[in-house]
Symmetry: C2
Subunit: 697 residues, 2 copies
């Protein structure tokens, strides 16, 4: 099933997932920025004419959701994405009695469409190169000072941008975000039209959206109707979209040239060997162990009864997806051949750079990074548990930390704040605090007790924070008390604290607020150490390497993924697995044959009821060799005419290792075929108006 | 807390954990066999006179339990070992209402002593070198044939040995087991006096036996009274022990020479780099992920209520111990320096062997092993789930498999059977089947559903066995049905099937027996492939390497651990951790200061009640630099006079990596100090008769 972008679990991953310019290319790989798309090469290779107008149209119909990709598919703001990308909205409208994830949803009128409180839909309207301004701000400073100055400058640029009248702006807000490309080889301001009123229109049942569940996740052949429809609103009315994408329900032919426009979350293709070693040894194994144990706790909790099963479904799905991804990432990192190749590439670049007079003073940035990763190893666990989400693993705690820190940070000048509390970040935080997302105390107890128990295990019972928190209470008792007594599940209470500022925080006796206040000094301390001792020297060193790379390999390269809009091309084709050819299309018939009647191989009743009226030869899923990664979930797969011929929802198992390098022989994207969408909307869900809207030109 | 021997979780670990002769020694490392103890070197180094009589006395007082070590400490058969080594016996006498693990136990008379149904106590009475006979049996055969012939010969030797009248035999049974030392450089028959009637005499509460629980496990400083007392019986009477060990309750001095006599389970100090790579990449990560998830399931299950907590305690303790061990083993394997060192040592040995004319025809055994490990990688998951315990993770299933296979194997000639069903193995199997160990259906459901879910994940939903078992039932539903409907929890029913042979098995409609019958063909197939394609070529190649190693490095070396009796020496001393000196002794006072009142830092009420009468300066735990590993749990720590001055129960965290090589700077053994045993038996448990028995000369 899912390929949402996985925000890094451990604090250090975030730091070392810096973008890197790529080495010379092979095959059709590449997550290209729209301003550097290799149209010329594509023309030579495929005879396709991809001009600026074509690119602009596709870009303006491409949508970024909170952690997924999507596209506009009607003039009335209809957004096509994956079912697993809207699971959090479905969960938001579920309860202990009813699960929209299980049951699906169809709004039969605009009035029935349900607001997704925490969702946004961003459209990239402009990209502005600000590299020169950023470099000017850091010139001549030492590592730490440069790190601070860079952040301040980017904050100021974002803030000024949002205050200026921007082209393409209508009723929706303008959102400006700085983007670091090519390891600091380039800095950009990306300007988005942001829709904050996004509503749920359609979702099939999880039984067919994620047919095969976790066992089939990242597998192919597949049979998943992993689709969902949202609608963007402006001023209470459906947003008007000038040029939505058309869906070509016939789908693509085998071998056809296809494009993916979407937001790959993060790749690590050009980390140094030292950084890969950090991931392999110190980040991935503990992260995987935590995820596995939490999975076990969720699964056993869900055995208590139907209510527990319902409320566990969404967090468990996300967790299992992340677990599978990281398992394969660890496998890739354990491949000594990958490490050897990285070392060879590194040695070659170092050697070539050493011959360039312009780089005589470059020093040894690779060793600088190695030194920083040694520090990162030492800080990894305390950072993960105190500042990352591993220790205080609770939705209520996350609210509390945002509230506690926002109160303090908002008293600082904009440029001095922690980056997530700058003025331009506040509206999104407020939206998230205001969203009426259900909080289940028993789940809070489960995740928080888990986090506290592991914090005690990894930081040790004698760590000051552990000792203070658990002096007289067990982790389970403390977690139970906090989950039951905190009132932060109520949006009104959250907003009161948000609006009340430091005085309200100081006066609060909410136990979760008190906990967040209590541990904040230690959490900030370790964060600061990471920023100063790991992030700062790493950033300086990676900038140097990026410049060296440009000098040696030129600019016909693409940056590592950064959850910003990218375009790539490929073709519809299968692959060979252990000598067996895998065909690129699946058909509906086999899904019925494969069903066992038991989750996760249970086809929903809605489909069984109309089974004899369905065209069993309808294409269901397909694979292409486009170069994608988590975050590309929900991306439109378009043909050379710019029409949608598929909906990306997954990669095959080999694609996960694509994080470190693309292998055209085996890496495949998996998409929903448009024909099954039409068959479903027409015969299973009887949604003629939706179909009409999708078919309108 | 615990250091019982960890039987390998994955089938392949068992194969590659073959003994290896060690490279030249450093410091006081070495798990020496009693027939090759370096008394001369010790005399030179420490001036100690360790003669044959000294060795014989210590050997005959050393005891091997099912998966731990122990020693005789009274003429009436009293056995001193660890609390965590007798947890399974405590669990055997516990129920949903009462936990002897939590409450502790003290028999105030012989009549109150409780039989440990599944326990044995072995004393090593003779070691016979049978290398020549084994080599003669395999001469000139190809790998697979040699593998079969070797097993047949060892079976025949064991069988003949048990039928012969042996010296030192009394009322107890003679148990003969073949032992492979030095990678097949030597084969021995070890002859044991086996006590099968072993009873529980004393156990403190888990709260003090495992004070600090999992967070403190493998840590030091520590405060654990990890002791327990059993008694061996013969013909219904306490066994008469001619020369038990005396306990010197004063304990040792810092820097004093001390010995550990016990049964280290397994070390991997001289695996080839290819074998270490297999462990690092293909065995450890999935094993750890499974253990972590199961841990989460147990912990969440235990939250349901006191009954669930009680019945979960014993399996959870064992699991958490194994998890911590394997985590540190993976850390050690991820140390590229270890791998580089292994490769260097390998290269040096290869180079030196290549100059020896006698080894001209040796071929390339290192490459042979690498080829075998490649096969092992491919078979690892199917073997683990179908033949190993990972898939059918259930006590009832294990009974069922033994019964189903025993019925079939017992129809074969002794030498043709699977090794665990030879005639000499049957009494122990029957004892285990007859033991009235409580089986809790809810725990069976939990572990079996877990195993089935992961089997589906790792083997895939289309694997024939998965498809057959889960065609119409979910893993949870199937596991629930099997756990509730199987009658194999009843020893009488197990024994009826055992005695009824194949006819009884064929006629049984017990669902667990049917499952074991159903999956046996596939399980046997993968096992056979492992034996023929991994074990056989590996065994031949490791024999060659062992001979080469003897030729190059001589015979003043010790073999890898094999859960057979070993003796090693060292001194009482602390170490330096991150620049901080760790003193070798702890005292009672600090335990009270460290207690939080909450598990696992809750001191039992029995201690709190007499707190003011206790000598708070009593030494509690101590560390030495003896070279131990899992399986050494319960070993006596003796001084140069052969008196007990400590009870080994753990190693420090660095000691875990000792699996791959001993580091005298940091590896430490952790022992219970005799003074705290006396203080506890005297003032806390008021057991004057026990103390009198321990003090008697």
């Amino acid at each position: 099933m899912p390929r949402p972008w996985l925000p890094p679990l451990a604090a250090f991953t975030a730091l070392i997932v810096v973008a890197a310019a790529s080495a010379p290319l092979h095959a059709d790989e590449g997550m290209w920025t729209y301003d550097n798309f290799p149209s010329k090469k594509l023309g030579e290779q495929y005879g396709a004419n991809i001009d600026a107008a074509w690119l602009d149209r596709l870009r303006l119909a491409s949508v970024r959701l909170s952690n997924c990709s999507a596209s506009f598919v009607s003039k009335d703001g209809l957004i096509l994405t994956n079912h697993h990308c809207i699971e959090s909205c479905l969960a938001e409208h579920s309860s202990t009695e009813r699960s929209l994830i299980e049951d699906g949803f169809l709004a039969r009128s605009r009035e029935q469409e349900l607001r997704c409180g925490a969702q946004v839909a961003d459209v990239l309207v402009e990209m502005q190169d600000v590299t020169a301004e950023v470099l000017a701000a850091t010139q001549g400073l030492d590592d730490q000072a440069a790190n601070e100055a860079r952040k301040r400058r980017l904050t100021a640029l974002e803030s000024a941008c949002e205050k200026s009248p921007a082209k393409g702006r209508r009723g929706s807000a303008l959102k400006c975000q700085s983007v670091t490309l090519y390891n600091g080889g380039q800095y950009f301001l990306y300007k988005y039209r942001r829709h904050t009123d996004v509503r749920l229109v359609f979702a099939p049942e999880a039984g067919v959206a994620a047919f095969g569940g976790d066992p089939d996740n990242f597998q192919f052949p597949r049979w998943c109707l992993d689709m969902g429809l949202l609608r963007a609103y402006e001023d209470g009315k459906p947003a008007r979209i000038a040029a939505p994408l058309h869906i070509d329900f016939a789908g693509p032919a085998e071998g056809e040239l296809v494009f993916v426009s979407g937001h790959p979350g993060a790749t690590d293709r050009l980390l140094t060997a030292a950084q890969l070693g950090l991931l392999r040894d110190a980040v991935m194994p503990p992260t995987l162990l935590r995820a596995s144990e939490l999975r076990g706790r969720y699964i056993e909790f869900a055995q208590r009864g139907p209510t527990e099963r319902r409320i566990t479904q969404e967090p468990l799905n996300g967790l299992e997806n992340g677990l599978k991804v990281r398992r394969k990432l660890l496998d890739a990192l354990l491949d000594d051949e990958l490490m050897a190749r990285k070392r060879r590439e590194e040695a070659e670049l170092r050697q070539r750079v050493s011959t360039l007079p312009a780089f005589a003073g470059i020093g040894d940035p690779w060793s600088d990074i190695a030194a920083a990763t040694a520090t990162a190893r030492a800080l990894e666990q305390s950072s993960t548990f105190l500042e990352g989400g591993a220790g205080f693993n609770s939705r209520l705690f996350r609210y509390a930390r945002v509230l506690v820190r926002a109160a303090a940070e908002r008293q600082q000048p904009d440029s001095e704040r922690l980056r997530e509390f700058t003025e331009t970040s506040l509206p999104r935080l407020e939206q998230q605090l205001a969203a009426a997302v259900p909080v289940y105390p028993e789940l809070e107890r489960l995740t928080l007790a888990f986090g506290l128990e592991r914090m005690r295990e990894w930081l040790g019972p004698d760590h000051p924070v552990v000792r203070r928190l658990l002096a007289t209470e067990s982790p389970q008792a403390l977690a139970t008390r906090l989950a039951n007594e905190s009132k932060l599940g109520d949006p009104a209470i959250r907003l009161a604290l948000w609006n009340g500022g430091q005085a309200a925080i100081d006066a609060s006796d909410d136990p979760m607020i008190r906990l967040a206040r209590d541990v904040d000094p230690e959490a900030r301390t370790v964060r600061k150490r990471v920023e100063d001792e790991v992030e700062a020297p790493t950033r300086v060193a990676t900038e140097k390497i990026a410049r060296a790379r440009f000098a040696v390999y030129g600019t016909e390269v693409y940056p590592d993924a950064t959850f910003t809009l990218r375009l790539n091309y490929g073709t519809v084709r299968g692959w060979t697995e252990n000598g067996t050819a895998i065909a690129p299309f699946t058909r509906l018939e086999r899904a019925f044959q494969r069903a066992t009647g038991q989750d996760p191989f249970r086809i929903p009743a809605s489909w069984l009821a109309v089974q004899d009226r369905l065209d069993l030869q309808t294409p269901f899923n397909l694979v292409t060799d486009n170069d994608i990664i988590g975050g590309n979930s929900g991306s439109p797969l378009v043909n050379v005419r710019g029409d949608i011929v598929g909906l990306i929802f997954d990669g095959n198992i080999h694609s996960i290792a694509g994080n470190y390098g693309f292998d055209p022989r085996q890496n495949r994207s998996v998409a929903v075929h448009p024909a099954i969408m039409r068959e479903a909307l027409d015969k299973v869900y009887a949604a003629p108006e939706l179909l009409r809207e999708l078919l309108a030109r």
